[in-house]
């Protein structure tokens, strides 16, 4: 005997399945809202480290480099609006070890360059702080520097061009070590999908020989 199933409603419950059209509409609206920062970031010039030069004399290393496209339109706008803008540059001297071991960090210098603009006087107040750190713990007192100028170009160089930055502790012996210098510059921050912060940075690395 055949059984006949009788259902009062539709064969499949309407709930549990949102109409595809509604979901597409919702997804489209969310997508339209969310990728703004990503799209804007993708149009911006690529930030990179150029002109990385490192010298090692008498166990003292000096590093020079510039951050191309580091001073973005947005950063300039922020500076000229009176907001203090700070870039962070980290220079490291590392010694290579065996294949599986990570490189040993021998010294690090953290350079913070900061610019503040006074729209009334038309002058830039430029600050630079260098924090040295070597292993083992023998942190050197930070070096602070200040410059006041009305030159935009001078401000730009101050922020993204760093020359002869001292990085190394001269008391440390470097005999037989394969040294490399690593530079990473953080020149701003952006947000991905509204809430995820992401650094605008660039990095470079090259060998260091006496």
């Amino acid at each position: 005997m055949r059984r006949r199933e009788v259902t009062a409603g539709p064969k499949r419950p309407a709930s549990g399945r949102l109409p595809v059209g509604c979901l597409c509409l919702v997804a489209g609206m969310l997508l339209q809202l969310s990728p703004g920062p990503v799209a804007a970031a993708s149009k911006k010039p690529h930030v990179r480290i150029d002109g990385l030069e490192a010298t090692l004399e008498h166990d003292r290393a000096t590093v020079s480099f510039r951050v191309t496209n580091g001073l973005s339109e947005n950063a300039i706008e922020r500076i000229h609006s009176g907001i203090e803008v700070e870039f962070e540059h980290r220079v490291e001297i590392v010694a290579r070890r065996s294949f599986l071991m990570p490189a040993e960090r021998l010294a690090q210098t953290m350079i913070r360059t900061r610019a503040a603009y006074d729209s009334l006087t038309g002058r830039y107040s430029l600050y630079r702080t260098l924090n040295f750190r070597t292993r083992p713990r023998n942190t050197v007192e930070p070096l602070n520097d200040f410059l006041s100028t009305d030159s935009f170009e001078e401000m730009r160089r101050w922020m993204v061009e760093l020359k002869e930055i001292p990085v190394f502790d001269p008391s440390r012996s470097l005999d037989g070590k394969k040294l490399r210098v690593r530079v990473r510059s953080n020149v701003g921050r952006r947000y991905v999908l509204l809430i995820f912060p992401s650094a605008i940075d660039a990095h470079a690395e090259q060998g260091l020989s006496p």
């Binding site: 947005n74 609006s81 912060p197």
Partner: protein, 726 residues
């Protein structure tokens, strides 16, 4: 987890979230967070992201779990899915539209603020500030150049003219309302207009600014002018190198620096302009951050809304499906036989009523089951009693000398006892068709009886049958009783067949004894007169023959008369003994009756009533024998009525195709005690009767496979009823 603990957990979580939000708000307010803070804002943003992701994660987890439960067919998951997705769908679209609309409004608002005329206003104010800036710097520069020119012209840098230089500087300070008038030499020395009102702190700040400007001149090797903050005011100052102003050949020239503090209202206005412009520029620079922050808040509200909608869906569905699930579980328990189960779900709405009704139903089921249990026990006892009774009846049937079998409504044998085989000589078993069995064994009269009973289905019928089966003759009394069910529907037939052979043998023996007695009596009666006549003749003859002539004729006449009576007696006996076999033929029954009545009507004073059914028509009978039957019955009635009264003859077809003939008289009737003997030969209640008339009637009727019986006639008299197949 108990529902109460879950609810309490949610409440605690909600309170914690509210406090966390309040704490973050206070933290922001207290810390005056700067937009470029490297830790706090990203930290908060990440925390926000984690909260949002946690909410989304919980949301997705619940939805996935719901889908899995639905796939597995867990009870209540379908309803939960419906409710959750219904609420989600109900909230998703409005929330998305709200989110989208709010975001667009925020974006448009921010962009609208940045559009002209605000942008133009800011640009113009910027230009005004720049123009004033240039104006004051230019003015200071002109004065510095003028002073330098005077110093060159009047050779005031010579060491012998220091006093004159001091007077000129003081004069320039007063004449041009300057706040700084200074000549700096390359060796670090300087001359400056006297300013007794300036305190040490102000002088130090001023010295720093002027020194910085002087350094610029040296660095640029040309004039320099600046606008600097000095305390609460603005200092417009300029410095120029003094041409040929070196005190030693080839050395750096002296530098003339002049400066004036701007009037306070003007400075305030300029600072106000600059501050407003800066505020706007900061707003413009942070417009993306601002938009992002607003969007983040709206997104969080969006996620929270969806989360709350989903949670409400889960909560409501759990509130609904919980009692239903308990009901389903309890229903399964009940179906498994556990009627003690009750649902304890707490619900004050229709579900509560449903639970209450379910519990009442379970209670009633339990009570009913107890009743049924008791009834079953009673029924079992009744069945046992019935079984015992059935076995008793079966035993009775087994041992009964009467053949008994019953048929169902389809005519199949349902019960049969061994006497059936003993009496009828047939093997009937349950399920047999008795008609077929009886046909094979030549018991057609029984089939006719069964057919008649089946057709009529009414009253009980009884027939005496004499059947010739093979070489033997069966004398049977057959009683067919229709069986009825509880609703009076036909349920079958009960047939009882009694073997009359023994009884007939006994009756025959008794009849013959009676016949012998009566013959002896009848013979003895004439013998006495004959003996007396013979003794009288011998005596008279021995006495000499006196009166012999007179006595002889009397004696011989008496002897002849008595011998004649004996002879008649013997003739009648011989005639009864020589009754021929019946030879039936088709004849109209009406003719038989009318031919008999023609012998009597008009010759007696009897009133005749004839009632013949016109449907009788032709019948299969022996007409001569049937005339004899009618004549004997009428003679008997006339004798009983002594020639006066009413004789009522009625004939009709009755159930079963039987011809029923009734003859009633208005005589004195027949006592019930004599009725069984009336058909025995030579039994008569009449003084001169032979007792063979009704015996002949009975013989003819039984030869026609019919029955005859005597009943009382109302109001008086006797009624003879003959039933025979027509």
């Amino acid at each position: 987890m108990p529902r109460g603990r879950t609810t309490a957990g949610w409440i605690v979580l909600a309170v914690a979230l509210v406090f966390a939000y309040w704490g973050l708000y206070k933290l922001f307010t207290r810390l005056s967070v700067k937009p470029d803070d490297r830790l706090l804002l990203p930290g908060l943003s990440v925390a926000l992201a984690f909260v949002a992701l946690a909410l989304v994660g919980v949301l997705v987890r619940n939805l996935v779990r719901l889908v899995i439960e639905r796939k597995r067919g867990i009870f209540g998951s379908r309803l939960r899915t419906k409710l959750v997705f219904f609420l989600l769908a109900m909230v998703l679209l409005p929330s998305t539209f709200l989110f989208y609309g709010s975001a667009q409004v925020v974006k448009q608002t921010v962009e609208a603020i940045l559009r002209t005329p605000m942008e133009e206003l800011v640009r113009q104010s910027d230009e005004i500030v720049d123009q004033w800036n240039e104006y004051f710097k230019g003015q200071a520069l002109d004065r510095a150049r003028g002073l330098a020119a005077q110093i060159v012209d009047e050779e005031l840098l010579r060491e012998d003219r220091d006093d004159e230089l001091q007077r000129v500087l003081d004069r320039w300070k007063l004449e041009h309302r300057l706040h700084v008038v200074r000549v700096s030499f390359a060796d670090g020395g300087m001359r400056e207009a006297t300013d007794p009102q300036r305190d040490a702190a102000a002088r130090s700040a001023l010295d720093t600014l002027v020194a910085t400007l002087t350094d610029d001149v040296h660095r640029r090797e040309g004039p320099a002018s600046r606008l600097d903050h000095l305390g609460d005011g603005l200092l417009a100052h300029a410095a120029v190198p003094v041409p040929n102003g070196a005190r030693e050949t080839g050395g750096p020239p002296a530098v003339v620096a002049v400066g004036a503090v701007l009037p306070t209202p003007l400075a305030v206005n300029l600072e106000g302009f600059a501050a407003a412009e800066q505020t706007y520029r900061q707003f413009r620079a942070q417009r993306r951050e601002l938009t992002r922050a607003y969007l983040t808040v709206i997104a969080l509200i969006y996620v929270v809304t969806l989360f709350i909608a989903t949670w409400i869906g889960f909560y409501v569905s759990r509130r609904i499906t919980g009692p239903i699930q308990e009901l389903a579980t309890a229903a399964r328990e009940i179906s498994a036989g556990n009627l003690d189960v009750r649902v304890q779900a707490e619900a004050g709405d229709e579900l509560g009523q449903l639970v209450e009704a379910f519990n009442e139903m379970a209670g009633e089921l339990q009570e009913n089951r107890e009743v049924i249990t008791r009834s079953t026990a009673d029924l079992r006892r009744s069945n046992r009693a019935l079984d015992e009774r059935r076995r008793y009846i079966e035993t009775l049937l087994e041992n009964l000398s009467t053949a008994v079998f019953s048929l169902d409504s389809a005519g199949r044998v349902t019960t049969v006892n061994p006497a059936v085989h003993q009496i009828l000589g047939v093997h009937l078993v349950t399920g047999d068709d008795p008609v077929a069995v009886f046909e094979r064994h030549g018991l057609e009269p029984l089939i006719e009886l069964l057919e008649a009973a089946r057709k009529t289905g009414g009253e009980q019928s009884r027939r005496d049958l004499t059947l010739k089966v093979g070489e033997s003759t069966l004398h049977l009394a057959v009683q067919v009783t229709p069986l009825h069910g509880a609703l009076a529907e036909a349920a079958g037939t009960l047939v009882m067949v009694e073997d009359l052979a023994d009884m007939m043998r006994a009756q025959r023996a008794a009849a013959w004894r009676e016949v012998a007695r009566r013959i002896a009596h009848e013979i003895k009666n004439p013998l006495t007169p004959i003996q007396l006549a013979a003794q009288r003749l011998r005596k008279r003859f021995a006495e000499g023959g006196q009166d012999l002539e007179r006595i002889l004729p009397e004696a011989t006449a008496s002897i002849e008369r008595e011998v004649g009576a004996l002879k008649r007696l013997v003739d009648e006996f011989s005639r009864f003994a020589r009754m021929p076999e019946i030879s039936p033929r088709v004849i109209r029954f009406e003719e038989i009756v009318e031919s008999v009545l023609a012998l009597y009507v008009g010759s007696t004073e009897v009133r005749w009533e004839l009632d013949l059914d016109q449907e009788i028509g032709d019948v299969l009978l022996d007409p001569e024998q049937m005339r004899r039957v009618l004549i004997n019955l009428i003679d008997n009635a006339l004798a009983a009525m002594q020639g006066r009264g009413t004789i009522h003859i009625r004939a009709a077809l009755v159930s079963g195709g039987l011809l029923r003939l009734e003859l009633a008289d208005t005589g004195p009737g027949i006592p019930p005690a004599d009725r069984d003997k009336m058909f025995i030969p030579y039994f008569s209640t009449k003084r001169r009767g032979t007792g063979l008339g009704l015996a002949i009637v009975h013989r003819v009727v039984t030869d026609h496979r019919g029955t005859i019986r005597i009943e009382d006639n109302k109001p008086h008299g006797a009624r003879f009823i003959i039933e025979m197949p027509a």
